[in-house]
Point group: C2
Chain length 220, copies 2
Amino acid sequence: MPTVSSEELATAAGVNSAKLRKDFSYLGSYGTRGVGYDVEYLVYQISRELGLTQDWPVVIVGIGNLGAALANYGGFASRGFRVAALIDADPAMAGKPVAGLPVRHTDELEAIISDNGVSIGVIATPAGAAQQVCDRLVAAGVTSILNFAPTVLSVPEGVDVRKVDLSIELQILAFHEQRKAGEDSPSPAAPAAAARSGAGVRSSASRKGPDGDVPAVMPA
Amino acid sequence: MPTVSSEELATAAGVNSAKLRKDFSYLGSYGTRGVGYDVEYLVYQISRELGLTQDWPVVIVGIGNLGAALANYGGFASRGFRVAALIDADPAMAGKPVAGLPVRHTDELEAIISDNGVSIGVIATPAGAAQQVCDRLVAAGVTSILNFAPTVLSVPEGVDVRKVDLSIELQILAFHEQRKAGEDSPSPAAPAAAARSGAGVRSSASRKGPDGDVPAVMPA
DNA sequence: ATGCCTTTGTGAACGCGTGCACAAAGATGG
DNA sequence: CCATCTTTGTGCACGCGTTCACAAAGGCAT
Ligand SMILES: NC(=O)c1ccc[n+]([C@@H]2O[C@H](COP(=O)([O-])OP(=O)(O)OC[C@H]3O[C@@H](n4cnc5c(N)ncnc54)[C@H](O)[C@@H]3O)[C@@H](O)[C@H]2O)c1
Ligand SMILES: NC(=O)c1ccc[n+]([C@@H]2O[C@H](COP(=O)([O-])OP(=O)(O)OC[C@H]3O[C@@H](n4cnc5c(N)ncnc54)[C@H](O)[C@@H]3O)[C@@H](O)[C@H]2O)c1
């Protein structure tokens, strides 16, 4: 029976072994003292706890550069996610196949969500359309949203939103990069914690950019 | 002079106003009591602290579906980042223009990094090539990496890596989704903190998938 | 069966980020 | 010039996650 110790796993993952054991203990402690964890059983337990034993239908809204790349990405299917439909507002795209699936028009959004029991939606539209799309998804029954548009979405309680903002990722890297360069005294005691916040800071009078995309943090 | 109070900003960002003030205090506290913060000056200070006053040349390695989408993304330029070059290993792509830039072959990687003073690199290659690409980037002088390949990169001290793993984002959503559904007793005291870790858990004997992409968490 | 060795599971202490609450500072109006 | 009002800057305490450290448990060899 193939087993792994918490120490091996911790080293591989780059975390503390005690933390890993404590985390595992929350799902029922199925290790054997003196031996470790049964790999197969452990994987099953974690998969089950994470909700990976069922497969989740997801819809991708906004089939542009990014949306198409996501649709073509094989990593979803292998992790228990199934792309139920690709949705775009552009009538010219309707019916056109992307990654083997025909693009559906936004008009069908509610029906698609409902028919497929979709509870997870991916938004890859321009920022200007994101909130509107979000509202429709939520109204149709979606309760989890992965947002790629650079906007803070407001949703009713009970709906989870995760935001992926590539610009912010780069900004965080640039922040640390700058620190490496100026090794003298760029704000002595700043705990770098501020760099972790995903929330964008805007003035109360801020406006969106010309194309409704990427709210500018800098004035010019 | 347009100003904002910490309370306004905090509400907009969805955070506590005290936290926001304390964060600002790390960069020198330039607010005026009874009034608030001068918007323009505050934006400048934050931009400077974040390293946004200079523009950072970046290279994107792996111009496939995702890499091309990134190259076409306008959000980088507007935040102070400049795509210095697009790099791919496929000889057929060399010279072909993507988003207005000619794709350069991997052979030129070191020269490109050096000539442009690039310190930030984006990896969008298949997972199997990521570590190798990473090593070359680092050897050439890159000290910050944004990694889209589903692999944990190992880098020498002093090099920052940020990983964007879309599958994990979806898994986190699915995890919470599952909780909403089974409202009875799915592991009573699990603090949901485990879902935040970005580290992938693999058995010590794990192998990559057939195409060297997406290390499978589940056995089958 | 007994003793030894390995590794788990977890109580307790530590460290750190977050939020509260308030004194000090400055603007504003009389 | 003084009173009052608003908002900052921050000391302090609370809560939570992380880490240490170790007793208990189980395997394994003798
Ligand atoms: N391309 C990237 O690498 C990248 C990176 C980070 C963030 N983003 C963000 O992701 C979003 C999409 O980026 P992109 O490069 O794919 O843009 P894109 O312009 O190529 O694609 C946008 C797509 O959304 C569709 N669309 C517009 N309004 C819609 C609506 N109301 N309902 C449904 N579909 C609608 C358009 O028809 C188009 O196909 C943008 O918000 C962008 O800021 C993109
Ligand atoms: N497409 C997505 O939405 C998506 C989402 C999440 C993660 N990812 C990850 O991003 C990576 C790229 O995804 P993709 O869909 O663009 O794949 P892709 O196959 O379309 O593109 C990969 C590109 O990398 C190039 N490449 C291969 N080896 C290279 C090397 N050694 N040096 C330089 N270039 C090399 C290939 O020529 C190809 O152009 C993968 O690791 C994938 O798992 C993609």
